[in-house]
C-alpha cells in the first residue's frame, strides 16, 4: 500500500510535464502579443522588441518552455504583467480561501447528500424518498447564483445574520459554501440512492438479515460501503471543479477566490498568472484523482494495489 502510493506519486511527474507543456502551448497559441500589451499603445517597435527579448518571447517556443520550467523548479512563477506582483504571491492569497471554501462545500454536500441518499433508498417509493428526491432535483436545477442571491436577500439584508460577502470571518464562508454545495449534494444524494438500492438487493444483505442483524447495521455496516464507489467518483470530480473556483458564486459573494482571479487575468491577458493557475488546477485534479483511486481500493478489496 505505502509502496503503491509512492509509485503513484512518482507516476504523476511525467503527467505533470505533459500537462504543463500543453498548458504552455495553449497560452502561446492565444492570439495577442503580450509584449505589445505591456508596452502600451504608443510604444515603438524598438521598445516592443526590447520587452520581447526580456520576456524571452523571441526565442523558439521549446526554449521558452524550458526557461519557464527552470523557473518553476526554482519556485519562480514569474510575475504579473499588469501589476508586477509575483504570481506566487497573487495566487497564494487566493488559494487558501478557495481551498477552505471547497472543503466546506464538499464536506456538507457529502454529509447531507449521503444522508438523503440513504433515507431515500431505505424508504424507497415512500414519502422520505419523494422528499429526498425533490430536494435533490431542486438542488441540481436551481442555478447557484440565484440561490446565492436569495440567501443574501434573506440572511443578510432581511435578517442581518450573515455578511453579504467577503472572506474575513468564517461567517463569510457559510452562504457561498451552501450555494456551491447544493448541486453537488443533490448529485451525491441521487448516486447514493441508486447505488444503495442496487446493493440492498444483493444476496449478502439477505444473509445479514438471516443472522438477525438490525436494519441499521445492515444499511450502515454492510450496504453503504459497497455502494460508495460511484459516490466517490462524482465527489472527486466535483471537488476538482470546486478547487478551480466558481466565478459566478465568487462574484455574487465578492469572495476572494481562484475563479475570479482566473477570469480577471484572462481578461487582462495576464499570461503568467493564467498559466500558473491552469497548472495548479491540473495538479490539484491529478491529486484528487489519486486520492479517489486510493479510496476505491479501500472500498473494494478486490482492487489490488499490486500492479
Amino acid at each position: 500500500m505505502g509502496k503503491y502510493v509512492i509509485k503513484r506519486i512518482i507516476g504523476i511527474i511525467p503527467l505533470l510535464v505533459v500537462v504543463s507543456f500543453i498548458v504552455f502551448l495553449f497560452i502561446h497559441l492565444i492570439p495577442g502579443d503580450p509584449a505589445r500589451l505591456i508596452a502600451g499603445k504608443e510604444a515603438t517597435v524598438k521598445e516592443i522588441q526590447a520587452i520581447r527579448h526580456e520576456l524571452h518571447l523571441d526565442e523558439p517556443i521549446f526554449q521558452q518552455y524550458l526557461i519557464y520550467m527552470d523557473g518553476l523548479l526554482h519556485g519562480d512563477f514569474g510575475e504579473s504583467i499588469k501589476s508586477h506582483i509575483p504570481v506566487m504571491h497573487l495566487i497564494g492569497e487566493r488559494m487558501l480561501p478557495s481551498i477552505e471554501l471547497s472543503l466546506l462545500s464538499m464536506g456538507w454536500a457529502l454529509v447531507f447528500g449521503i444522508l438523503i441518499g440513504v433515507l431515500s433508498a431505505v424508504f424507497k417509493n415512500r414519502w422520505p424518498d419523494y422528499g429526498g428526491m425533490v430536494t435533490a432535483v431542486s438542488g441540481i436545477s436551481l442555478p447557484n447564483f440565484w440561490l446565492g442571491l436569495v440567501m443574501i436577500q434573506l440572511f443578510s439584508v432581511q435578517l442581518g445574520w450573515l455578511p453579504t460577502g467577503g472572506a474575513d470571518s468564517w461567517k463569510g464562508y457559510i452562504m457561498p459554501s451552501i450555494a456551491l454545495g447544493a448541486g453537488i449534494m443533490a448529485m451525491i444524494a441521487r448516486f447514493t440512492r441508486s447505488s444503495l438500492v442496487q446493493t440492498l438487493k444483493e444476496d449478502f444483505i439477505r444473509t445479514g438479515r438471516s443472522r438477525g442483524l438490525s436494519s441499521m447495521t445492515i444499511v450502515f455496516g454492510h450496504a453503504l460501503k459497497s455502494s460508495l464507489i460511484p459516490v466517490v467518483t462524482v465527489a472527486g470530480l466535483q471537488f476538482g471543479f470546486l478547487l478551480g473556483g466558481s466565478v459566478v458564486v465568487e462574484t455574487v459573494f465578492s469572495f476572494p477566490g481562484m475563479g475570479r482571479l482566473l477570469i480577471d487575468s484572462i481578461q487582462l491577458r495576464d499570461y503568467p498568472v493564467v498559466q500558473a493557475e491552469l497548472l495548479l488546477f491540473s495538479f490539484e485534479f491529478i491529486l484528487v484523482n489519486l486520492v479517489v483511486d486510493l479510496l476505491y481500493g479501500f472500498l473494494n478489496p478486490k482492487i489490488s494495489y499490486e500492479t
Partner: protein
Amino acid sequence: MYDLLNVKGLKTAFKNNNQRVSVVNGVDFGINKGEIVGIVGESGCGKSVTSLSIMRLLHDTTGDIQDGKVTFKGENLLDLSERSMRKIRGKEIAMIFQEPMTSLNPVMKIGKQLMQGIILHLKYSKEKAKKHAIDTLKSVGIPRAEDIMNEYPHQLSGGMRQRVMIAIAMSCEPELLIADEPTTALDVTIQAQILELMKRLQSDRGTAILMITHDLGVVAEVCDRVIVMYAGRVVEEASVDELFESPRHPYTKDLIESVPKIGERKSRLYSIPGHVPNPNQMPNGCKFAPRCQHAMEICFNKEPELTSEEKRKHRCWLYQQNNVGREQNLGSK
C-alpha cells in the same frame, strides 16, 4: 406434533402488478430436535419461499405471509415483533444459502462478518468472540483459520466460502439450521465434503437441519425424512427409506425416475412431461393432474387432502379411502 418446529397451513403470496399470487399454499410439516428433514421439488415449487417465510425474511420482496402458523419451540414466530424475531434469526434458527459467492459481504473481512453475529447474539467480548470465531472456523474444517479471519471472501474458493457460511450459521449454536440448496453451486467432490460436514455437525451438536434441495441424491445421502413439494403444496411426506422404496404420489415416482442412475444405460434421460403450472394459472383439482399418467376424472375437479397413512402422508386421490378409482388404478403401472 413435532418438538422443534411445526408449520401449519402456511400461505405466502407475492404481489405482481397489483395481483396477489400465492406461491406457497397451505404447507404443513414439522421437524423434531436433531432431525434432518429434506424438502424436494422442482424449481419454482416454493421451497425457498417456504424457508424465507419461516424466517420471516420477505422484507425486501413484494411477498408476505397470508395465513398459517410457524410454531418454533411452542411459540408462533408469525406473532413475534420484528425485534424479537431478530433474536431468533441467527441464534435459534440459522440459514445458509445456495450461492456462497454472493452470500458473503464482499467488502468485509471474514473475521468481522463471523464475529458480528457472535457479539450480537452471545454478547461476547471482542477477544472472546475472536477466539470463538477461530474455533468455529476450525470446527468446519477450515485450515489456517487465523489467517482466514483477515481475508476477504473473494480470496477463498467456493467450497471454502460455503464452509465459512456454515461456520457463520453454526457460530451461535442454533437448534435449527435451514440450508437452502447448500451444495448446488459446488462441484461434486466439494459437494460430498460439505454434506459430510453437515451430517457431522448434526450428530455432534444435535442441530436439526432443514435441507432444501432438488437433488434426490442429496436427500438419500443425508436426510431422515423427506417432504415432497409441488406447486406450493406438500404432496408427500415419508421417511427416506419408505420414500425411495415405495413412493406413493405419481409426482414422487416421476422425480425418482428422472434421477440418472450410474450403470444404467438409457437412450434418453427420463424427464417429467409437461411443466410446472404458472402460480397465477393454477389448474383446479390436483395441481399435478395435467402431467399425471394416472389422472382420473376427480383429479381435475377436486384437490385431494394431505392424508396420513401410518407414519407417512400423501396428497393423491389414488390413495384416498372410499375412492372409487382406487382398485383399477393402483395396479396399472
